[in-house]
Assembly symmetry: C2
Homo-oligomer: 139 residues x 2
């Protein structure tokens, strides 16, 4: 699951926001977010697949931590949509890079995906295809 779909769910946004203030176990997160534990567990698994969180087993407990590098695609899109005076600066992306390296000691899960950004984008479909009248304003 890509980071965008992962962040589409309000509960998952709550989870990542919570983990931004420190890692936590599943029971803790369950206590805070009144849905059943299996639901939380599955949300966390999706977030991990999206590269937004990572887990570390300590005995019978599993500690989930925010993985800020997984936010790259989101930051990239924001940058791409920024337009002429980009609201998302390159400095910001550099900050993310640093973040990735800083937490890079146990990114087992991150290794499963080739790279957390720039999905295939599919069809070549976009010839300039000039049309008789309107079609482009570049407002």
């Amino acid at each position: 699951m890509d980071p965008f779909a992962a962040l589409a769910d309000p509960l998952r946004r709550d989870l990542v926001a919570r983990l931004a203030r420190g890692s936590a176990r599943v029971v803790d997160l369950t206590a805070e977010h009144d849905v059943s534990r299996p639901a939380i567990s599955r949300h966390l698994r999706l977030l991990a697949e999206a590269g937004l969180v990572s887990a570390e087993d300590r005995g019978r407990e599993r500690h989930y931590r925010l993985e800020r590098g997984g936010l790259r695609p989101v930051a990239d899109l924001l940058a791409a949509l920024g337009g002429a005076a980009p609201p998302v600066t390159d400095r910001m992306l550099d900050g993310l890079e640093l973040e990735v390296r800083r937490t890079g000691r146990d990114r087992r899960a991150a290794r499963t995906r080739p790279h957390p950004h720039s999905e295939p984008h599919s069809q070549p479909h976009s010839e300039p295809h000039s049309q008789p009248h309107s079609q482009e304003d570049t407002a």
Copy 2:
């Protein structure tokens, strides 16, 4: 529909990315993204509800334009998740504000929504609730 859910769909991300390079009509977008026109039309409606695009009728044509102000919630979340050295600076949010004003001459559609950011966020559920043993690492 909130901006996060709106951006969860790859096709919708393609649409906003396309509109970032200039407004376009529905037929144009349909020609570029091989799905049927009704599908495109519905995606655009969802994007408009999310505050990410706006439409302007010109005769029988409807021109869709990117509405950068709708990205506020996304930028806010990124800022909230940024941690100590925030990857998304306040300067970026200022940039978005400016962007909203700059394109503010014909935002008819924007007036139909109360404000394009900061959804309710629901439950108050989060008392500090200190627990006996682990629960917080502040990694």
